[in-house]
Subunit: 149 residues, 2 copies
DNA sequence: TTCTTTTTGGATAATCATTCTCTAAACATG
DNA sequence: CATGTTTAGAGAATGATTATCCAAAAAGAA
């Protein structure tokens, strides 16, 4: 079973557990989220699904995304009035946004994040429950393209 | 000269340098930003100023905030469709948001942040230009109030 | 199966923060 | 003082997101 297949089953399971109806629209959205490599926003998901399901509405996208968020199966990345969604890594992790190409890259696998969390908890007596870390700059491939140009 | 006085002069200087007119509305906003301990949003700034300047409009607040942002004198904290502004520490720094009392606390003075930035640059070959780090949880005073209750 | 009851999905309408536009006022210059 | 030019600011517009409400689907009774 592929990773995306595992994610898909996990999304379906949570929706089922919650007693939600598994309509074709919801199945298609869950599938799309689980295979998406990037971090689509609601409009992008809508436009993609609309080719196959012309009657689907944006509200359905938002409602299902909210359900999946509440179940902890989707992470919302809250950017300036344009939320993007991660259905593959639904836990908090840093994101790197390239100002050149617009890519949203995952920044998990940075070990020093643990130290930062600990220092904040100790220094400020603050109990962290979740976080959103966004770094803006230029990604590796854009830097390389620049150098070779 | 107090810290807030220094900040006020700095805001005025940048507006002047840019060739902006120093209207009473703008002066009042610059003053308010420089003395604000917390992190007000546009509406809060508007409501505060409206008592003294009944004719001021929200658009003026937004426009002047944009000017000051561009001059690097104000930092925008981009939360879920509700931006807050910091006129005292206009450089990127972590913020701690308390889910209980809603306070937005400054998380500057964490040393391990440098290590995190370096690790991201090295691990992903990503050139960071700015960042927004927001930690959600419970602040020290709310934790203490909870314990003593 | 068929009718009734109840819940849930989804299309449209509404909302709200933010931005755009356009008029009028302020400043500089002759 | 008059004239031209720039900019402030009020109200209209925008666009992402959310709320409402109708219809369709499931469940249960006969």
């Amino acid at each position: 079973m592929t990773d995306s297949e595992i994610r898909y089953q996990s999304l379906l399971h949570k929706l089922q557990q919650r007693g939600c109806r598994l309509t074709s629209h919801r199945l298609a959205l869950a599938r799309l989220l689980s295979i998406s490599e990037g971090h689509p926003n609601a409009s992008q998901l809508y436009e993609t699904l609309r080719t196959q399901f012309p009657t689907i509405s944006l509200a359905t996208i938002y409602k299902t995304l909210t359900l999946l968020k509440e179940e902890g199966e989707v992470l919302e990345i809250d950017l300036h009035s344009d939320s993007h969604y991660d259905g593959n890594k639904p836990y908090p992790h840093p994101h790197l946004i390239c100002s050149r190409c617009g890519a949203i890259l995952d920044g998990d696998s940075v070990r020093s994040l643990t130290a930062l969390n600990q220092e904040i908890e100790q220094t400020y007596g603050f109990h962290i429950s979740r976080y959103q870390l966004v770094f803006y700059g230029v990604c590796q491939s854009c830097l390389q393209a620049e150098r070779s140009a």
